[in-house]
């Protein structure tokens, strides 16, 4: 009689879940995600099997091989995916710097764009006159400093007046985006001989050399992931960031200059995002558009969290999400699936991937089972 009013379900925190079980849960979530996605597509009247096939082949068909010129390179399909992955990975690494400090930098998009704008300025001003060995480092520097300063701005306000960094960084995104629209109408930036609002293509000297058919940025991105990993694992600065993130009080007690650490870290965070912007204009696109960041600053948040702030795991997750993005583009052309439906599909898959974290951390105990457990005890 005491159990008549037992709650129907209890949420119990798990402790010490085995690794194999975590992997199993994640795989189950992936399968569940694919099934749910299939259901959605089937309801819309498309063939799910064909769609998944097209997605994968569109993103990584052949992956790497010897091309017509007899050179080892990524295939056409995978080149685009690697480019997306590079952008996502670098941005996620930048955001991780801030996130580890519990500084919620939602402004990756804006920092990428400002980095891209500063790099583009150098490209447009000096692209035709400076040699490649000078123009590229100059663009790199401009991109990093620009992105870094744009990241520093909300940090100064936070340290001085305690403003909310989430809103602040979010709003800065739109300022950066609309500034590009403004630049598109400026004679010094616009394509010459037309009134069409588009920034001109940069000189060839401003373009990064390629490796295996993709600009060298992808290798730098992989190296950067290792560097950021080491930064947190081995350096004083990385240690300070973690302590400030866990408790600013403890950091102050330990004799750390918390304000300086916040400013420094946000500069680095913004600079890495600005570097991603540099890679876009000097590697992937060859010019500056309002789509230069293309939402990567936001998607990178997902990458960082899926990887649990582990820089090395971010390599895996940025590749996975790049495949999704590329694949969803592909099915829009091959099967005529509308963009909105493709976005829903990505949303469903990410929802499952993130949602499974709840079941990894908690378990549910239902009334009937609870009684059984109790009887056994």
């Amino acid at each position: 009689m005491t159990h008549a009013h037992d709650p129907f379900v209890r949420v119990v925190k798990r402790t010490n879940i085995e690794r194999s079980k975590v992997v199993l849960f994640r795989l189950t979530a992936l399968v569940g995600a694919l099934l749910a996605g299939a259901l959605l597509v089937a309801l819309l009247g498309y063939d799910p099997a064909q769609m998944y096939g097209d997605m994968v082949s569109g993103a990584i068909k052949g992956f790497i091989g010897v091309n017509k010129k007899g050179v080892l390179a990524f295939t056409n399909a995978s080149q685009a995916t690697i480019k997306i992955m590079t952008l996502l990975l670098v941005s996620a690494l930048g955001l991780t710097m801030a996130f580890k400090m519990r500084f919620w930098n939602i402004g990756g998009e804006g920092q990428i764009l400002v980095g891209a704008i500063c790099s583009s300025y150098v490209a447009i001003q000096f692209g035709d006159t400076w040699p490649q060995w000078l123009i590229l480092p100059a663009m790199f520097l401009a991109g990093c400093v620009g992105g870094g300063l744009y990241g520093l701005l909300p940090a100064i306000f936070k340290a001085r007046w305690g403003t909310n960094e989430t809103l602040f960084t979010l709003m800065l995104n739109y300022i950066a985006l609309n500034f590009i629209t403004y630049l598109q109408y400026q004679p010094s930036w616009q394509i010459t001989g037309t009134s069409f609002p588009k920034i001109r293509d940069f000189a060839d000297s401003t373009q990064l050399p390629g490796v295996l058919g993709v600009h060298i940025g992808w290798i730098i991105a992989l190296l950067l992931a290792v560097l950021v990993y080491l930064y947190f694992a081995k350096t004083k600065q990385g240690y300070e960031i973690t302590v400030v993130g866990e408790s600013a009080n403890t950091a102050r007690y330990a004799g750390m200059n918390v304000t300086r650490i916040i400013l420094r870290t946000m500069f680095i965070s913004g600079a890495i995002c600005g570097f991603a912007g540099f890679l876009q204009v000097s590697g992937a696109d060859g010019t500056l558009t309002t789509d230069t960041a293309g939402g990567a600053g936001f998607t990178a948040i997902t990458v960082a969290w899926l990887a649990g702030m582990n820089p090395l795991l971010m390599i895996v997750y940025s590749f996975f999400i790049a495949i999704l993005e590329r694949g969803s583009n592909r099915i829009q052309t091959t099967m005529g699936i509308p963009k909105s439906a493709a976005d829903m599909l990505i949303g469903i898959i990410l929802f499952f991937m993130l949602g499974v974290e709840f079941f990894i951390n908690y378990r549910l105990v239902f009334r009937a089972r609870h009684r059984k457990e109790e009887a056994a005890a």
Binding site: A4, Y239, T250, Y253, G255
Partner: protein, 522 residues
Amino acid sequence: MKPNAQPDVTKAVEMRNITKTFGPVVANDRVCLTLEKGEILALLGENGSGKTTLMNMLSGIYLQDSGEILVCNRPVTIRSPKDAYALGIGMIHQHFKLVDVLTAAENIVLGLKGGHTVNRREINARVREIAGRYGFDIDPAKKIYNMSVSEKQTVEIIKALYRGADILILDEPTAVLTPQETTKLFAVLRMMKAHGKSIIIITHKLGEVMEISDRVAILRKGEYIATVRTAETTRQDLTEMMVGRRVKLEIDRPVCPRGDRKLHVTGLTCVSREGVTKLKDVALDAFGGEILGVAGVAGSGQKELCETITGLKPIQAGSILYRYTRGGATVEENIAGMSADKIAQRGISLAFVPEDRLGMGLVANMNIVDNVILRSYQENAGMLINRKKYRPVCENMIRELDIVTPGLSTPVRRLSGGNVQKVLLGREILSRPQVLICAYPVRGLDIVSSYRIYALLNAEKQKGNAVIFIGEDLDVLMDISDRILVLCGGQVSGVVDPRASTKEEIGLMMTRIGREKVGGIA
């Protein structure tokens, strides 16, 4: 009050085989407890023995995993505090649950059913009636933020009585009170008992158990040990049941020659950001080979005293002279106005064990190694930290202080309270400080761990260092300190020799300023 209560029932509450687990932790393992009508039952146990968990199930905060609760011989399921009140059970939590900006009366009726209007006059009259019956002192129209801790506690008790509670549970009610306030509270409790209320008082202070309770129920590590009549037991027996073995109850006070004056503070004044004066013209001296106790009601400026001396809080006036050795010469330097990082840069090792261990002293999510390097990581040359170098240091510390941990890589939040404190104190001692400031170093620790900490502090004193011990338990302070500085409302009300004064004298000094110093030597 309760229509179902039969007049011949003698048991107010019976808890049978209650089990409650949190993940792998068994907080209560088949615990049984009986509360008779009209008695005061002390629930005794060390921190972490499951006292509060057990009472939280009785008051509807938690639901037991298994086991039965009977109130007046009727089996019941208590799923919320509302259910508990319907059964006449009210709990006064250790951390009060009051709304600061409301008055006492408003807090008392908060959440009660009623119309859309509040008849303040009627409520005030009822509150006064309850207060008069049991001997409380209360102004129903006073706002909570204007109240002292003891007044807030009174509001909490009246809140429970107003809701018709016949069974009252008090969680460590004396932890925040001065000796005088404790005496007053006990008088009220006796009065309530005389009116037929049944009371459970959670505590780990033996003196109070002996003074107020009729019976004592003892828990140890989540298990029920025994219930005994207070009149038929002794402190030593109770301690044995609580700890599980015989322990020595005296605290050592080794005799040491008084050394140099290590710290000389004068005119220290600290005003909070809100403009409240937290410290006013505080002066103190700390000598080597001596433990200086600091007594005072909670919130009398203890926190500010520690944090101003260690450079964590800015000060408005005063000087803090710190004597240390620099380049072979002994210098006395004024560190007032220096921030903590500046003080550290000067090579001054001023050790501080803060009150908030996991929120300030340690990083809860980091392992022992990363916590040990917290204060000294800057000593690494270059950009990198060589953690390998610190491993033997940590292993040594674990061995010497008997720290129980699964390993060096376990986050400190997984350790028990006593072990957390050992890691913190151990790290501070590693820095070879000349002055060691400890805020509430044994709060929440079990008896064995507490004695371990006392021994460590005495060892520092015997090394010729100055120890400042901010305490809350006057008995402990009087046993371990060489001198006691008493704070009252941010001011020093006197410095006394604990061997030549009484608890009552110090208690009085905690509540008033301006009396002449009692038996002071400084």
